[in-house]
Amino acid sequence: MQQIPTGTQLVRGEAWAIGLTYFTVAITVSIVHRTAGTDPWLIVAAALIVNSATATLAFASATASGGSAATGVLSSWVVSTRFGLLAATIAPRLWSSRKKRIFAAYSCFDPNVSLALREKEDDNLQRVYVSLSLWLVIPWWLGSAIGVFVGNIISDPLALGLDVMFPALFVALLWRQLDHGLSKIVGLAGAAIALGSVEFVPGGLPILLAGFTALFGFRKQNTPPKDLQ
């Protein structure tokens, strides 16, 4: 399979940036778990099986602040609700085969869904989704494994600004899509709802609530985000 599918909007620079970001963030997440005293093999297994930083970090955060393991698991499920929504978003344009969708569900992240949805043709969308899933998952696994071993060297990832890489990547992913009237409204309203509710509802729910702003799409004479036109 080609690294970058030809005839699609995906460019090599985007794939490399995503790979680099997930590699670096994986190292950071491993360091956080190592600092909390988690077994190194468990950290690597979490990267392979759970395939989500926010879920394991939510568990670590909930239990570190005195919550039970059940509370931690619940927190991890709540913060992961966005993956279900993203999967539902892209599913209508993926393969009709249930087996293929079962595999595709494993690698449902924000960047590969967002960039795949730019494609006009379903075939191109599917190729971009598969390609970007590899660009995400492989650096994620590698970074997680490396992070376990370099944890002692990079003791403070925040001092290197690594915590900003995720939101900065998402800004870059969204930039072109926000160049559209309704996209700006949906995006700003989503951010405002998330920030307005974060101190009052459990972690993860602010993102879920923000997802409701997509209902603005029902407005008359609406159009999809710019890159989807």
């Binding site: 879920a55 966005r82 600004g161 949906v186 999809p224």
Partner: protein, 101 residues
């Protein structure tokens, strides 16, 4: 601290939600307006994630060096710089701001 038991419950919940989303919708069952609504969900979710990861810390609103990093990222996007440059400059700007503050 993460345990093997917790790990399997977390994995089941996370994958279960992804699977549910992936298998519960199909283009045959959705009408035009719903497909457009679904296309806006990534925009809403990504904006919410950006806002929360920039302006909150452990569930509370907080303004710190991350804001400077994200402003730098937005500037790079506005100048149409490559995505790798956006991410790297955002991290460096945040690190520098933390060093100064």
């Amino acid at each position: 601290m993460l345990t093997w038991g917790a790990l399997f419950f977390i994995a089941a919940g996370v994958y279960g939600q992804r699977l549910l989303g992936m298998t519960s919708t199909s283009s045959k069952r959705l009408s035009g307006p719903w497909i457009i609504v679904l296309s806006y969900i990534p925009v809403a979710i990504l904006c919410a994630v950006i806002a929360l990861q920039t302006f909150t810390h452990q569930g509370e609103l907080q303004i710190d060096a991350r804001v400077v990093g994200i402003i730098a990222a937005a500037f790079c996007c506005w100048r149409h710089w490559p995505m790798a440059a956006v991410v790297t400059i955002a991290a460096l700007t945040t690190a520098l701001t933390r060093l100064i503050l």
